[in-house]
Symmetry: C3
Subunit: 140 residues, 3 copies
């Protein structure tokens, strides 16, 4: 967690661009203390004739699907901050380059999640901080 799926037109992102985008995404989560390796971003090329918006092929659209597991909040201001910050983070990679962009986030259960055979530690725990420091999961 988080898991990001970025569905994008062929050729929209070269390897360097993908890395800048995923670095921006990763920074959002590490700033609130999550281990860097928690952030997985998968890029999926989808050709226009397989990418339909409103019933028509679309060659300039990016659809981002995010799954949040490690952190959930019920606070409406926090939720607004999350969606607006992530949309702003994506803007230079999408709308500012002429790519239409839609994003949504799902929240999935923390207790149905495993990393390398280990149950991830509780949010803000000492073990989570150690995982963040080492940037890898270690038995605890």
């Amino acid at each position: 967690m988080p898991l990001w799926h970025v569905y994008h037109p062929p050729g929209a992102y070269d390897p360097g661009h993908k890395q800048r985008l995923s670095a921006d995404v990763t920074g959002f989560y590490t700033r609130v203390g999550l281990p860097k390796f928690y952030v997985i971003v998968l890029f999926h090329e989808v050709a226009a004739d397989s990418f339909h918006v409103g019933g028509e092929p679309h060659g300039q659209a990016v659809r981002v699907v995010v799954e949040h597991i490690a952190r959930h909040t019920q606070d409406p201001r926090h939720r607004r901050h999350t969606r607006e910050t992530l949309a702003a983070l994506l803007a230079p990679h999408t709308t500012e380059r002429g790519l239409y962009c839609e994003l949504h986030i799902d929240e999935t259960p923390q207790d149905l999640w495993m990393i390398d055979g280990l149950t991830p530690p509780p949010p803000d725990s000492e073990t989570e901080r150690a995982w963040a420091r080492d940037n890898r999961p270690t038995p605890y």
Copy 2:
């Protein structure tokens, strides 16, 4: 929202067929007032040896994953109507062509969703109707 993923055998759908399927899907949502451009359908070819049903490769199966964001309902009759209508809509594109078909819908939070940098308007609001009329998101 809605986002449709259609996982299908290579060659099952040519571009024209994809367009008919996504037009049928789009019509379902626009009939209840959603803006046309809200409906995104992504087609993903999956070869038989990467598409297993019951532990065996399957070359004639379609798996549809739907994410609903803009509209949720708790009314059991409405939910039954939704699932049955969508299955019926898919039948000419799947079972009636000899393709096995499974479909499920997830419902994700309305307040963790952004379109082109904007928070989508509330359901059935004047702004949503304007977006539907213009078939594009405009600042409000």
Copy 3:
């Protein structure tokens, strides 16, 4: 249900290996009585430069996304058993072969689910047992 997505490096799994992995997955669910054909496993190759972990391309990671529909439980011990058993099931296919592995499970609504035009029968019902016995959905 369940639906498994396995995102993996190109070449990590040949057809025989995919079949062993999906047979192991399928066995987990059939042991608790689910029809074999309920289990769908989709394998998706993702090249290193489209598979980022912690902001960097990663050529040796497997990310598994599971969607559970037919069975949900609130019992913490049962949930722990599920996540640990599935992680252990994946170990010979991932960590024991030097592949980093993250897994999470989402739970989606039972009443927004259709198989071949039919509403799947209730958990542990006579019809579900008949579907398991016949390994196919039959009208009821």
